[in-house]
């Protein structure tokens, strides 16, 4: 729990000026020892979790720094969905804007997922129906703001959408005398 963005992507990797290529540094200090060798006590390094596209975590995932490098690293590594009991606000927004779906579920479901995921496990995440299911014991619905949902499903360019409201922004600026 309380996994902070400093752990997801340590500061020494924030100096790149691109959005790509951060996956190799994901959870760097937990994944690798001082000599850069994979640590066998970190779950992402275990054989059965290679190529996983869903990350399961505890409460308050992504707290701390606002660095969007965290979702960039998760996405680049191959994660498309993050399931946790709760998320930090800025991290949640940063995920959605990068096409990662954050799913908040109850602790009991998460605990069961942790158990089940230990050996070759497949879970379906259905954004349209807002549901997580495995065809067995797990079938849980999750909440998502309709706006974020539509954005994830349609892959909007949010800036273009906002710029279509240009007249309203201008009107606001005139009315509020912004900058005068």
């Amino acid at each position: 729990m309380n996994v902070d963005t400093d752990q997801i992507i340590p500061k020494q990797f924030l100096k790149r000026i691109e959005r790509k290529g951060f996956g190799q540094f994901l959870f760097y200090n937990w994944r690798f020892d001082d000599d850069g060798k994979p640590r066998d006590d970190f779950s992402l390094n275990e054989a059965q979790y290679q190529n996983a596209s869903i990350l399961v975590a505890g409460k308050n995932f992504g707290c701390g720094s606002s660095r969007e490098h965290a979702p960039w690293a998760l996405l680049d590594y191959g994660f498309r969905v993050i399931i946790a009991t709760s998320f930090a606000d800025i991290f949640y927004n940063n995920c959605v804007k990068n096409g990662i779906l954050p799913v908040a579920l109850d602790q009991e479901v998460i605990t069961e997922l942790f158990q089940k995921a230990k050996d070759g496990y497949e879970l379906q995440v259905d954004l349209q129906k807002q549901e997580v299911r495995d065809g067995e014991s797990i079938q849980a619905s999750f909440k998502i703001d309709p706006y974020w949902k539509e954005m994830l499903l349609n892959g909007w360019d949010e800036v273009s959408r906002t710029l279509s409201l240009e007249e309203k922004i201008k009107l606001y600026e005139e009315k509020q005398l912004v900058g005068e």
């Binding site: 729990m1 400093d6 100096k15 000026i17 660095r67 930090a88 706006y147 606001y172």
Partner: protein
Amino acid sequence: MEPKTIIEKIWDKHVVHEEEGSPDLLYIDLHLVHEVTSPQAFEGLRMNNRRVRRPDLTFATMDHNVPTIARHIINDPVSKVQMEKLEENCNEFGVEIADINHPDQGIVHVIGPELGLTQPGKTIVCGDSHTSTHGAFGALAFGIGTSEVEHVLSTQTLWQSRPKTIEIRVNGRLGAGVTAKDLILAVIAKFGVNAGTGAVVEYTGEAIRNMSMEERMTVCNMSIEAGAKAGLISPDETTFSYLKGKRHVPANEAFNEAVAEWKELATDPGATYDEVLEIGAEEIEPQVTWGTNPSMGSSVYARVPFPEDYEDPGDQKAIKQALAYMDLKPGTQIQNIAIQYVFIGSCTNSRLSDLRAAAEIVRGRKVHESVTALVVPGSKSVKDAAEAEGLDQVFQEAGFEWREAGCSMCLAMNDDIVPPGERCASTSNRNFEGRQGNGSRTHLVSPAMAAAAAIEGRFTDARKIKPLVM
């Protein structure tokens, strides 16, 4: 009219567009920019052939990467590129920048208020979670990611869901020698690192009213460490007198008009919050964190806890992990923890009053032989003001290093790094694993407590070290 909180007043005034099933489109009055979270945003503008909509509401500086010593030699080529890129981007898009050589340079959350860019009632954003600092002025200020930075650059707006509101009421007065930093650490220890998730916090109560603006900034700065995106304080005479005469604040008659408007912002009597949390100021003692998130802290007189003290198995596991990382045995007296590094600086505690508080303890004494200690002023202007008072001499004579302004050892993106296994008493805001350098161990404290630790080589109640009359 229905009584409203300051949070609702600022929010309502900034809604540009609202529609069913969508967050509100909020207008942003001030966008602060730094070198780490902006390059990809400017690149996005370039790729889409977009401009910065309101360069006049955008202000940039360099702080995260800058060297605090030998200013012109940037050893790390990647850091250098990031700083050059910011310069280039600002020139290309017409954004004002206080670069490394500029007299206004400093930590973005220190210079915003100094220059009077930060004002009551504004919506303020920055690609940095400690943007909550500006809430001290009664502004709605929050950190955003780089995609949102790009969105603000091109539209001067942001889509935001209306937050919950929380009042954190601090009853009574802080004891003599107990600081704003001790208060906010105690608040986070009491309510936890996700108490404020989904919410904006307003700090109220006698202890808050009695605080200077710099103390209020320390409190609001760490709102994010309690999970709140923003924290603010209704403006009052303390706020107005701080702002008077600042460069970007209206002057003369326009100032009086601004004050009249700002006075309207304070939360109305009878307004309600979604949640109210209370803490007694009198019960708070100087704080020291012992774990790996800001809620893992206690009074300097406490002991490191036992994992079994906690009921929840998740908490027990977290405490065990934290103590293993921190190399601390349960039951250890906090006062018996020896430290090797002291860092006085960061957007939490690098302002003139912070340096004065530390200097008062340091004056006429020597840094403990096993301690490396540095002071990093929050801005060029704080540094100049401190030097005018001779504080640089006080620190240097005691054995502190006196540096140039920047974020420095708070997150160790430049060369100011705590080595693996070493322990640092730090006035910064995060004690996460590896925050101050791989394998480094951070204990968060106030400037006075950091100064006292520098002298003693271990934690001690700063109130017991009386100023020497020189």
